[in-house]
């Protein structure tokens, strides 16, 4: 007999009434005529520390089964890269880079409240203003109000847009470097301060929706689109707010389709322009892991309004921004675990990814028109365990205008 989750919801609230039949009702667990229970003495101790009380630091007891771990937890992920850049007609250069190490800290308060954070160190060190950077990627409080159906999340949160911005632990994607679309089109990692709701009201249907701080139009660029406009919750001006939401459906286990939307005003967040500079964006994504096949696809389109105001140069000091009005990109990635049918527990996944992106789509004015780029990435990931990936690939970058470049990448990624 499979019990319907969740078992202990008491849908007495206005929210429950609004959600109506979408929320699973409580399962009857009455023991009025049940069996006589003869439990080991350790079980009473385990039960006493469960349910409505915050987790304790009790030492796990092998005999009782479940015990209660610490309320505060630590985890993380990271990746080390070696890149050999081979531009057409130029000299080959190489580098090794501890691209990022991210530390996760979480705390379970009990009563449905939890804290989650990620602190990132990029490029190993910072000294005298040089090197990488240290920054928070996430830091929020979540209140699970109606089990998995409805949680309130407030703090520094990931913008729910696309695939990689939400899930970007290195073993979770193929290739040493993240897809270029997830950098130049979708400005991963994209976090803002906000408040919103997340949940899975019915199995396989998930949502996230936030009211959050917006982008700063002054730092949009032609080559990197809206990426420079992220304010990262550092004295972020919020005169121009934003709404972001994502809905995903998992029609069958291991196959997920997502639709993301974003709208925000970016002009009010800078003194450099008087227009509102609205940014509208939509993304479609999908991923599938079935029978050894590992596939991902993503399409993203971003429209930046009032670009005429950003490009105006009445003082002769240059435009505020040369960002394109229409930004578009997408990729398709296919891989197959050749060890899938074996008993090794390891995964060896040759893959190929084709990307195309243009940060200045359909620009008539050549001053504000940049090249589109086609990228083909071929390589393999070896995962001896799901949390560790050794990676190798070759990237062929073919811009519509300018020099081609080939890049050979080696990397290792981990998460725990």
């Amino acid at each position: 007999m499979l019990l319907r989750p969740p078992a202990r919801i008491l849908p007495l609230s206005a929210v429950a009434l609004l959600l109506g039949g979408l929320v699973p009702t409580s399962t009857v667990l009455a023991q009025d005529h049940g069996p006589t229970l003869d439990l080991p003495p350790e079980a009473s101790t385990a039960e006493a520390s469960s349910a409505e009380t915050p987790p304790s630091t009790e030492t796990p007891n092998a005999a009782t089964g479940p015990s209660t771990p610490s309320a505060t937890s630590v985890g993380g992920y990271g990746e080390l890269h070696f890149n050999a850049f081979m531009p057409d007609g130029g000299d080959t250069t190489t580098e090794i880079d501890l691209h990022r190490v991210v530390f996760f800290f979480g705390h379970e308060f009990g009563h449905g409240f939890r804290f989650y954070s990620e602190l990132e160190v990029e490029h190993a060190f910072i000294e005298h203003g040089e090197g990488g950077e240290v920054k928070l990627e996430q830091a929020y409080i979540q209140w699970d109000m109606l089990d998995r159906a409805l949680s309130l999340r407030a703090g520094m949160v990931l913008v729910p847009f696309g695939l990689t911005n939400r899930v970007h632990e290195p073993p979770s994607f193929h290739g040493v470097e993240r897809p270029s679309v997830d950098s130049l089109i979708i400005p991963t990692t994209w976090s803002e301060g906000g408040i919103g709701l997340v949940g899975e009201p019915v199995e396989g249907l998930r949502y996230e929706a936030y009211l959050m701080g917006g982008l700063n139009a002054e730092h949009f660029t032609q080559g990197k689109g809206i990426r420079g406009g992220r304010q990262s919750v550092s004295h972020a001006v919020t005169d121009g707010p934003a709404l972001a939401a994502r809905v995903s459906l998992e029609p069958t286990l291991g196959v997920e389709l997502g639709l993301s939307g974003y709208f925000g005003l970016t002009g009010p967040n800078t003194d450099a322009v008087s227009a509102s500079v609205p940014v509208s964006a939509v993304a479609l994504d999908g991923r599938a892991t079935r029978a050894g096949l590992e596939a991902r696809a993503e399409l993203a389109y971003i429209h930046v309004g009032d670009t005429e105001a950003l490009r105006a140069d009445p003082m002769g000091t240059g435009p505020v921004s040369d960002v394109g009005s229409d930004i578009f990109g997408g990729y398709l990635e296919l891989g197959y675990d050749v060890l899938h049918t074996m008993e090794t527990g390891h995964a060896l996944v040759p893959f190929v990814r084709a990307e195309w992106y243009d940060t200045t789509l359909s620009e008539d004015d050549p001053t504000f028109n940049g090249p589109s780029v086609f990228e083909l990435t071929m390589g393999a990931d070896y995962r001896p365990i799901p949390q560790i990936a050794f990676k190798v690939d070759v990237q062929l970058e073919r811009p519509s205008d300018g020099n081609d470049e080939n890049v050979v990448d080696l990397g290792i990624g981990w998460m725990f």
Partner: protein, 200 residues
């Protein structure tokens, strides 16, 4: 000449109104709701519910032998504990089923998992008793847990091959598969090798 707005730092005007309405709606919903605990079931609740028609649920302490320990390590990637408690439901002298409560690590946290078996050692249900991770809680879904029903110690439990994983919950999916695989092996011991049981 370009006009430059003098900025107010903070929500104002219509934007402030939007913030206010949104936050008010959220707070209203929050106050009206009932907070849940992270523990969804207790051991007592699950035993009482699953073996409702049995007359008695007792327990046996199982110390897996070397070959079983090796099998568990091979399937789960980690060494088993020295002792497990297997719950046994009976109606008189007849065994109705078994249950095992255990923990397995997801990405960061331990997940408390209960696995139930019929008298033949086939899985009848898997439940998440307590889930602590920030992500991956979708393994509590019925359709994911349903995959384990009917499997036994001889079945495959490899996540991604024998068990379909949930998108965005790869590690948690694997954790449940490992927990059920271990439980199936231990219950198999309890059923077929009574000499290995250390009765209380």
């Amino acid at each position: 000449m370009k006009t430059v707005f003098m900025k107010h730092r903070g929500p104002r005007g219509t934007h402030g109104l939007v913030y206010g309405l949104f936050v008010s709606a959220l707070l209203t919903a929050s106050v009206a709701s009932v907070a849940r605990a992270e523990t969804f079931f207790t051991l007592r609740e699950l035993l009482g519910s699953h073996f409702h028609d049995s007359t008695q649920v007792g327990y046996e302490r199982v110390h897996p032998a070397a070959d079983v320990r090796a099998a568990i390590q091979r399937r789960t990637g980690s060494a088993p504990k020295d002792e497990y408690v297997v719950y046994v439901a009976r109606s008189g002298e007849h065994v109705d089923g078994y249950a095992l409560f255990d923990q397995e690590r997801g990405q960061h946290e331990l997940i408390d998992i209960a696995t139930f078996f019929d008298a033949q050692g086939q899985v009848t249900d898997v439940e998440v008793m307590t889930y602590r991770e920030a992500y991956g809680e979708a393994i509590r879904s019925t359709r994911f847990r349903q995959q384990f029903v009917g499997r036994d110690a001889s079945s495959g439990f490899a996540a991604g091959r024998d068990v379909d994983i949930i998108s965005g919950a790869t590690l948690s999916s694997g954790a449940m598969a490992r927990a059920v695989a271990r439980a199936a092996l231990l219950v198999d011991v309890a059923r077929h090798q009574p000499d290995t049981l250390a009765h209380r």
